[in-house]
């Protein structure tokens, strides 16, 4: 009897051994799959941050044509972009439509390698306590998504396919403006505070964001006719292109409701018409 039980005990031991080996193998397999994911993420974050910082520096260093319809490669009269903005802002404390366009074109050209996959906002604002808080310049490049419902009866929730419009894949807007065209005034006071609140909500909901900011000095003419320096902050924010409208979980859109070409009125946007 004892002799016959020996073989069964060996099989049971072998099955226990197999069970332990299976656990070990699953652990090793899991480790092999996840190894380096964190480092990969950090490498990507490092690249995105370096790209954003370089882009901001390049925009601020760049020359620009005085004529908004020209390019720096063909224009006979060029100036530093920041000098142009300073000069234009100093007299009436606004950036005119022509200068806004020149600025917008430079931003587009610097960020052209990522324009199909990323959306971004470039803005200049005054947030110093000693000055009126004010949005001086706000440019947004967003993907012109089309939303298509997928038949999903019985699945418990709605599913959509978001794809970029084939003819006009992106929208460019100047925002933070009370009117359109040359008569536009920048948001300040309560309008500025509301815009920043909308902006913060957008930033909190779009996932991973790469940001760079820098301080610049602008000039304004005082009542006595003297020129006075003051500080403003310039920011660039880049994120993976995503739908900014309403969803089942988000009844109020982040930037528009259903139509990416029609931003919510609180943003004070107008079409940039850069082309």
């Amino acid at each position: 009897m004892e002799m016959n039980s020996k073989g069964q005990a060996a099989v049971t031991d072998a099955l226990y051994f197999l069970l332990i080996i299976t656990f070990l193998s699953v652990f090793l397999f899991g480790f092999a799959n996840s190894y380096g994911n964190l480092v990969r993420e950090q490498v990507n974050d490092e690249y995105n941050t370096a790209f954003t910082t370089n882009a901001l520096k390049t925009i601020l260093y760049s020359s620009t044509p005085r004529d908004p319809m020209d390019t720096i490669y063909s224009s006979s009269e060029v100036d530093y972009l920041l000098a142009l903005i300073k000069e234009d802002y100093s007299d009436d404390l606004q950036i005119d439509f022509a200068e806004r366009k020149v600025f917008g074109k430079t931003i587009l050209s610097v960020l052209s390698p990522i324009q199909d996959t990323k959306d971004y906002i470039f803005y200049i604002h005054v947030l110093s306590e000693s000055e009126n808080k004010k949005m001086i310049y706000f440019f947004i490049h967003s993907t012109n998504f089309e939303k298509e419902a997928v038949p999903s009866e019985g699945l418990g929730r709605n599913f959509f396919i978001y794809s970029a419009n084939e003819t006009a894949s992106h929208n460019n807007f100047f925002c933070g403006l009370t009117n359109t065209g040359d008569s536009a005034l920048s948001f300040e006071g309560q309008y500025y505070i509301d815009l920043i609140a909308r902006f913060d909500k957008l930033r909190a909901n779009i996932g991973s964001v790469s940001e760079a900011s820098s301080s610049i000095t602008l000039v304004k003419e005082t009542d006595d006719g003297d020129l006075e320096n003051f500080n403003a902050e310039v920011n660039l924010m880049i994120w993976d292109a995503t739908w900014l409208g309403e969803t089942d979980d988000r009844p109020a859109g982040l930037f528009y409701q259903d139509d990416p070409t029609d931003p919510d009125t609180g943003w004070g946007c107008e079409d940039a018409e850069l082309f």
């Binding site: 016959n4 092999a32 390019t71 720096i72 490669y73």
Partner: protein, 170 residues
């Protein structure tokens, strides 16, 4: 009677050897796969670090004030464990349609061509393009890493927005 079914000390344990061997094969297969994956990813990270080193050196402070400045930055790259070609191009900033990264042409002015590499060009007389160092066809068999960074380049007293392209392969 007691020896009924007994076929010897090994014969009796034969059924238990099957799961035992199966377990050993499974363990060593997974172990080898894990080790290969670990090794491959470490090598990839090594390439990433090399590309970051090249990029950081060439970017400097994002402002290249002339051709000599760019060449000095190139000289500072030193030895790296990957083949690379890095250069400045104005095509993306001009919004020109580039079908793929291999067709990127490097910027050239009267002082010279703004690129550097640790490999010789396929055709020294051809246009200074990335494909003259690594073609799409050859890239299929290689591990290729590419990065793009915006840069400001001073050319003829005009500061032009351009892009630094770094393509490394092994």
């Amino acid at each position: 009677m007691l020896n009924k079914g007994f076929i010897g000390p090994i014969g009796d344990d034969l059924p238990s050897l099957i799961p035992l061997l199966f377990g050993l094969v499974m363990f060593f297969s997974t172990f080898t796969m894990t080790f290969s994956s670990f090794d491959a990813r470490n090598t990839e990270f090594g390439y990433d670090v090399s590309v970051m080193r090249i990029s950081r050196t060439l970017q400097s402070n994002s402002y290249i004030y002339n051709y000599n400045n760019f060449q000095k930055l190139c000289d500072n790259v030193g030895l790296v464990n990957v083949n690379y070609v890095a250069g400045v191009s104005s095509q993306a900033a001009k919004q020109e349609d580039i079908s793929n990264i291999f067709e990127v042409e490097f910027f050239e002015n009267s002082d010279g061509q703004f690129y550097c590499s640790n490999v010789d060009p396929i055709d020294p007389n051809a246009l200074p393009k990335i494909s003259n160092f690594l073609s799409i066809h050859d890239s299929i068999d290689e591990t290729v890493i590419s990065k793009i960074f915006p840069l400001a380049v001073e050319d003829d007293k005009v500061v032009k927005p351009m892009h630094l392209f770094v393509v490394a392969w092994k």
